[in-house]
Symmetry: C2
C-alpha cells in the first residue's frame, strides 16, 4: 500500500510537505498541492477517512474498454477522473460490468446499494442493457462518447469531433489532397455518427463533396480493413482518415501489403493519438484526445449534475499531432494515371 | 450592506448558524449550507477576506444584455454564476463593456490589470472587438451563446437548442400542426445559426420538409415582425415558433391585429421562458432556459478551464413550459380554405 513516504520519495520532497498537501494546509503553493494530490492518486494512495460523517463516493462503470496498462485507451481517462474527484474528497471506484450483470441489477438500485453519489460510464454501446435504464435514472451520471435524450440527470462527454476532424481534413487539403477517404468506426455507435457528420461538414467547408465510394464503416480495431482499403484505392483515394488509431494501423499495413507506401503514395491519419502511435511504422499523424483531461472534465460535468445543473452535451478540445504518416500529394506518374 | 443578521432573519435561523454556513463548519447539513451561501450571494453579502494570501477573482463581462431587474434575461444568469463561484471562494465582479471600451483596452491586458483568474462573457456578438482578441487569449474564458474556434482557453456555454427546438416541434406536431413557421433571431448570430439547424433537423425528424417561405430572420425584439407574420400566414402557417419570447410577444400582437386569434387560429411558441411569459396574453408556451443554471454551469466550465481542462462546447438541458398560446389544430372552415 502506498504511504506518504512513498509519495515524498517519488516527488523528492519531505513527508511533512506531502502531508500538508493531502490535508489542504494553506502554507504550501497551489501548484505543489495539485502535484501532490495527482501523484497520490496515480500511486494508488488511499486517504484514511477523516471526521466527515458521510463518505462521498463515485462509481466508474466500465465495459468494453481496456484500462489496466498505461497504453490502454481507458487508463488515463480513469486516472484523470480519479484525480479530479480526489481533490474534492470523492472516492472513485472502478466497477467493471457486463451485459449479464446489467440485466441482473437495475441501474439505480445497484448504485444506491453501492452508496454512490454519481457515476461515470465508459465504453458502453447502444445495446448495453443499462442504456435503457439511463433514460429514467435519478442518479447523476456522466456517459463518455454517448448521449441520453431528455433526462436532465445524465450528461454526456466526448472530444470535439467536429473540430478534430476539421483539423485533420484541413491538414490534408493543405498538403494538396482532395480524394480523402474516411474509414469510420463501428456503425450504430453514437461517436461514429458524430464523426461521419463532422467528416461530411468539414469536407464541404473545403469545397469537396463527400464521395460515397470513399466512405465506409469498419470496427474500432485493426482487423478487417482490407476490403475497404482496396475499394478506397480503386476509387483514387490519396489519403485515408480513420475512426481511431487501431484502424489506422490496419490501414497502413494493408497499404504496404498492396505495394503502396505510406506516406509517399497514401497519407493516413488516426484519431485518439494513443501512446503507441508515436512508435508505429511510420509514426502516425493523429487527432489527439487528451484522455487525462477527458477524465477530468467528466468529473467536472458530474459535479455539475450532482449540483442539479443539467449539462447535456460537453465537448473537449482536440489537437492534431502531426507525424510521418501524412505527406504532400505527389502527382501520379503517367503509368499510374489510369488507376487514379 | 448585508450582514449575517440580515441573512439569518431572511432564512429564519440563528446568526450563529449562518456564520457556520459561511465558514464551512462541518456540523450543519450540506443542503442548509448551500441555502445559506446562495441567499448570502443573492442579498449581496460580501465576505470579509480571510487569512488566504491570494484573493481569487473572476470577471463577468457583459454587453447588450439587461441584468438589473429580476425579469431581465441576464439577472438570474449573473446571480447563478456568482452563487456557484462564491461557494468556492471566488469573488465575481460584473463589468459592463462597450465596443469603444473594448477597442481601447486589449482583452488580456485588461483582465491582468483587474487581477482576474478568469472571465465569463455575456451578450457579445460577432462584431464585438474583443471577439478577435478571444481567438488568442491566454485568460480562461467562458462565453455564453457564442463559440471561439480552436483556442483551448475559451469554452462556450448555451442551452441545448437541438433538444429545446425538438421539444417545441414535437409538441406542435402532436397537436396536429404541419405548417410550422420559424421566426428566428438576428441573422449572423451564433445562436440563430444553431437554432436554424435545430429547426430544420427536427422538422425532418417529424417527416416535414422545411419550407423556405415559412422561415425568416428577425431581431431578438418584439418590433418589426409584421412583414414576416403576414408572409407566414399567407403561406398557410398554423403555428409560429420564435427565436425568443420577445419576438413571440410581437408575433401574438400582429396575429391579433390581423384578426387571427392565438391560439385558436395560430399557435405561438417562444424561447427562453422569461418570467413575463406567464403573464402575456395569452400566457406563452416557451422553451425554458433555466438561467440560474446557465450561470452556474458557466462557472463550472470556467473552473475546468482554469484547471487547464479545455472544454469547448457545453450545453444545458431545456424543458418546454406549456401554457395557453398553443392549441390543437382546428381544421379551417370552408370559407377560409382558399387562404390555407
Amino acid at each position: 500500500m502506498t504511504t506518504i513516504t512513498d509519495i515524498a520519495k517519488k516527488l523528492g520532497i519531505s513527508a511533512g510537505t506531502v502531508s500538508k498537501g493531502l490535508n489542504g494546509a494553506k502554507d504550501i503553493s497551489e501548484p505543489l498541492r495539485q502535484t501532490i494530490l495527482e501523484t497520490a492518486v496515480e500511486m494508488g494512495y488511499a486517504k484514511k477517512k477523516t471526521s466527515k460523517k458521510e463518505q462521498k463516493k463515485l462509481c466508474i462503470l466500465i465495459e468494453n474498454m481496456d484500462y489496466y496498462m498505461k497504453d490502454d485507451f481507458g487508463y488515463d481517462i480513469i486516472l484523470g477522473f480519479k484525480q479530479a474527484a480526489f481533490k474534492e474528497s470523492f472516492d472513485a471506484e472502478v466497477i467493471p460490468t457486463s451485459h449479464e450483470f446489467q440485466r441482473n441489477h437495475p441501474y439505480d438500485a445497484f448504485l444506491l446499494n453501492q452508496n454512490c453519489s454519481g457515476a461515470f460510464i465508459c465504453g458502453f454501446a447502444f445495446d448495453d442493457p443499462w442504456m435503457e435504464d439511463l433514460k429514467a435514472t435519478n442518479v447523476p451520471t456522466v456517459i463518455l462518447d454517448n448521449f441520453i435524450k431528455e433526462n436532465p440527470t445524465v450528461g454526456s462527454v466526448g472530444s470535439d469531433s467536429d473540430e478534430g476532424i476539421g483539423l485533420a481534413i484541413r491538414h490534408l487539403t493543405a498538403l494538396g489532397h482532395k480524394k480523402i477517404a474516411f474509414l469510420n468506426g463501428s456503425k450504430g455507435s453514437a461517436i461514429s455518427e458524430m464523426r461521419l457528420e463532422a467528416y461530411e461538414k468539414n469536407m464541404r467547408l473545403q469545397g469537396l463533396e463527400p464521395d460515397p465510394e470513399l466512405l465506409a464503416y469498419g470496427h474500432f480495431v485493426s482487423a478487417g480493413v482490407e476490403e475497404h482499403v482496396q475499394k478506397f484505392l480503386a476509387h483514387g483515394a490519396t489519403a485515408i482518415l480513420c475512426g481511431n488509431d487501431l484502424i489506422a494501423y490496419g490501414v497502413m499495413a494493408e497499404c504496404k501489403r498492396l505495394g503502396r507506401s505510406v506516406p509517399e503514395d497514401i497519407s493516413v491519419i488516426g484519431y485518439d493519438d494513443l501512446p503507441s502511435s508515436a512508435h508505429s511504422n511510420p509514426p502516425l499523424t493523429s487527432v489527439k484526445q487528451d484522455r487525462s483531461k477527458l477524465g477530468k472534465c467528466s468529473y467536472y460535468v458530474l459535479y455539475a449534475l450532482i449540483n442539479e445543473v443539467a449539462l447535456s452535451r460537453n465537448l473537449l478540445r482536440t489537437t492534431l499531432t502531426i507525424r510521418e504518416s501524412t505527406h504532400r500529394l505527389i502527382p501520379a506518374a503517367p503509368d499510374n494515371q489510369a488507376q487514379r
